[in-house]
């Protein structure tokens, strides 16, 4: 089970990393565990995204990632996952038209 889980997680990360974008299965998204003190605050991610032109509606922890709901610089709705330490974008959830 745990072998399967870590395999699935690695696969999800690998796929997300490779594609850098579209996430089909929400619950398969996982970020590698980071010690709490190494996680950067959500406010910092919000500041960074805001400086890039985003409008952030909500940020929460999800399977070790920061999950952001908002609008990107072009005003497009985005639900995206970021690594809590590096702020690298893990991927985003496809929005319906």
């Amino acid at each position: 089970m745990s072998v399967f889980r870590s395999f699935a997680a690695a696969l999800a990360l690998g796929l997300a990393g490779a594609a850098g974008a579209q996430i089909v299965d929400h619950n398969a998204v996982r970020c590698e565990p980071v010690p709490k003190e190494e996680m950067k605050p959500q406010m910092e991610l919000q500041r960074q995204l805001t400086s890039e032109g985003w409008r952030v509606r909500q940020i929460k922890n999800f399977n070790g990632c920061y999950e952001v709901y908002g609008f990107d610089a072009s005003g497009r709705r985005v639900e995206a996952f970021f690594h809590p330490k590096t702020f690298a974008k893990i991927g985003e959830v496809k929005q319906p038209e």
Binding site: D25, H26, N27, Q58, K60, F71, R77, P96
Partner: protein
């Protein structure tokens, strides 16, 4: 067990179709959840439309479909609940007083689920935590209420020797046996 000769028409066809269509739409929307969002939204709108039709039917449907026939005041509800606790609840042909309020509660909860869901599809409300939480909590409350509804159906079927699930398909139930049985 339920001989046709002594069974009577209780639930009209429209009500039965709306009931099962609503159950299917809610189940489908709940089952796919936020994955396959387009389908979730389509099923949600379908459920909302069916529920709206059911509410309208609550005024213009046949006798047992109408809210006026099964929504009772607090005294009747408390009296029925007390009788139920003491094991002497009488059989109703339509919804009993608790079941009647279950219908209202299910529809109200579904309304909250649908309104919060629709709001979440708009730019104005998308991504807001309180809208998301309202949708999530009301949806799971609805699931719990459906479970309670099923418990009610099962216990009343057992207590009064009725097949209430079958009755929601056929529309027919065993006729009232005179004394002590209500409509």
């Amino acid at each position: 067990m339920t001989a046709t000769r002594e069974s009577v028409r209780v639930w009209d066809r429209t009500q039965r179709v709306l009931h099962w269509a609503l159950a299917a739409a809610v189940a489908a929307s709940w089952w796919v959840g936020e994955e396959r969002l387009s389908f979730h939204i389509a099923a949600g709108y379908t459920a909302a439309a069916i529920a709206a039709a059911r509410v309208a039917w609550g005024w213009c449907g046949s006798r047992h479909a109408r809210f006026g026939s099964f929504v009772h005041g607090p005294r009747a509800v408390l009296g029925y609940a007390r009788a139920l606790a003491q094991g002497r609840a009488r059989r109703y042909l339509g919804h009993n007083p608790l079941g009647g309020w279950m219908v209202v509660a299910l529809l109200l909860c579904l309304a909250i689920v649908c309104v919060s869901g629709v709001l979440y599809t708009t730019d104005r409300f998308w991504g807001l935590a309180w809208v998301e939480q309202t949708h999530r909590i009301s949806a799971w409350t609805l699931v719990a209420m459906v479970a309670l509804h099923l418990c009610g159906v099962a216990s009343m079927s057992w207590r009064h020797r009725d097949n209430l699930v079958g009755a929601m398909f056929s529309g027919r139930k065993r006729a009232a046996e005179g004394r002590g049985e209500g409509s």
